[in-house]
Point group: C2
Chain length 400, copies 2
Amino acid sequence: MANISQKARLMPASAIRKLVPLSDAAKEQGVKVYHLNVGAPDIKSPSCALDAVKNNTMDHISYTNSAGLMELRKGMCEKYYKKIGIDLEPANLLMTVAGSEAVDMALKITCDQGDELVVMEPYYTNYNTFCFMNGITLKAVPTDIRDGFKVPPMSEFEKLITPRTKAILISNPGNPTGTLYSKEEVLALGELCKRHDIFLISDEVYREFCYTDQPHFSAMNIPGAEQNVILVDSVSKRYNLCGCRLGTIASRNADVMAAAMKYAQARLCPPVYGQLAAIGALDTPQEYFAAVREEYIRRRDFAVNALNSMPGVFSPLPMGAFYTIAEIPVDDAESFCRWMLSEFRVNGETTMITPAASFYKTPGKGINHVRIAYVLEVEELKKAMNILAKGLEAYPGRTI
Amino acid sequence: MANISQKARLMPASAIRKLVPLSDAAKEQGVKVYHLNVGAPDIKSPSCALDAVKNNTMDHISYTNSAGLMELRKGMCEKYYKKIGIDLEPANLLMTVAGSEAVDMALKITCDQGDELVVMEPYYTNYNTFCFMNGITLKAVPTDIRDGFKVPPMSEFEKLITPRTKAILISNPGNPTGTLYSKEEVLALGELCKRHDIFLISDEVYREFCYTDQPHFSAMNIPGAEQNVILVDSVSKRYNLCGCRLGTIASRNADVMAAAMKYAQARLCPPVYGQLAAIGALDTPQEYFAAVREEYIRRRDFAVNALNSMPGVFSPLPMGAFYTIAEIPVDDAESFCRWMLSEFRVNGETTMITPAASFYKTPGKGINHVRIAYVLEVEELKKAMNILAKGLEAYPGRTI
């Protein structure tokens, strides 16, 4: 009997997706499940993106350059990044199999096995997974839910930085918190990285989902940090094309991009249909983003108000992305989420949310936190939140 | 100044793609380049696959299950594998980002860092790349070009097997050799793996490209090796949809598939448009494969005859895939390939082929070997081979 590797055995299962078998089982019983667990929006993709795929005239789908089609890379620079004030040339970026691959590449490029990566907790759980896969130690600076998860003083980061620290990885706006960092916060992180000669990996896949009047400040625009910053970006997320699996890794550091190209070549090329959609998406009118933003603000306001009106529940008001982390009055959020899927129904319906403990490194933290993705229409959110409220009242392990 | 990781620095560049800048430069000078370097066929994809994408009615492209759409996994079992005599259920397979990801997953699942993988050389160069990325030691059993690269006696494998050997990885039919292994050879490898309690990873992405009258014998059909065999497969290759980036990892070993699912979840889902194409491709009529096969036999016969009629050149007659390895009378095949792209033209045209040294582990082996992908129409192949023959005559480092 051949045995699988120890690493494969110890590999963490996805915290976000591991409850899927329970929701599948509920659906098989005929239960309707409101999915607030995955960042899979129901918002329409721009028709220019969808049409670019539908109207293609290729008679076979061949490989592209490992970095992606030059037409797309040029278009990204000229039609997208330039417009939002980020100055890039095609040599500074290549197309990846979504943001996921860009994160994995950025980690491989910056950290050797045994090196350390610093993040803020709560963090996107797959940051930890990719660290595990690459033998990198993830260290987490705590942030505070009561404070809206804002960036702690740089001294808190300094405490964790050792000679093995090779990069700080931020998500801005943040998954899972929805927190949008200020220009000052991003500049301070850039200064810190420059001072320590380490990389700042900035995951900005939710850049177009910001709900303040101030423009998003990209780490790519930190003066003098050209050699330190690596940008993780996503076409899939930006245009509600999650399934296209197309993203970007970008840097003005030539060594970084040369290494990225080697990793890109090992997997041959990014998905071609996704690249076609991305080329089409470059013509997305500004009104599209404005309408999406308005819709998310409506959903966020509804969801966060509904959460804060439930006894013992607290959620900050997130200013970006489409998530919030809420504290809920239960013994253990994962048990609660499982119980909702397996046992609790309101008129044959239930709500699926994500337990947040695995978004934390510090043991015991986040045990009563959940991530809510407000990716449904307000009418649906109403029903989902009503079920959640009733579930919290009825849950045997409630703490109030 | 932040420095990239040592591993990223040492990461091997793609042997197949590293000459691309030279061919790009030639093209910019207006030179026509015949590409015999990449396995990117010019054959049309089945229209049922292309239409499935063009006629989709989705208004946004959401994630699918990390394992791929159930409709596709079921369809693969019932409409494809069953037809070719491989008995699989959806739980035995999941969809990957092409064969590349399936290979990477199979290595992660079977080998820890420092473990050993045994392959036959010459091997697909990215096997070595994925081993490097995962800290796995690749060991190679030599095969002989004069013998058509057939499987050596099992005693040659035994010599390399140590307690750290966790798997044997084969490519059948083979890239880069085009060699098709017999049922007896595959059974012997299965026996060997069972005896040593190690995995047999069988990369069968070229299964539909076999040029003998005997059916391809899949490692999935080795009796009693259910717990040892992991299948790597590719939808992209099979249907000339290379750019779709869609493949399969399959095994009847439940631990293997549970681990595969964890890796799949870390990258969220396989490309959705590729999955649509794959669902459409399930209706590909048998005549499609028959016509493709006939076309490749024509090309192979032409290419191999042309090669063997060049003084000092030897190529075996490959029975599968669309590659052959040829021995050429030069001091160093990489220098020759570079010289062809940079300096040699016939009426403003040149031919691009792949130096094969990086397909070998044994130092010095393959130094005068090249891989030829016979992926062009015979009329084009004629011109490409004529240029190659003239190049070999004119090359300053020729050895005859």
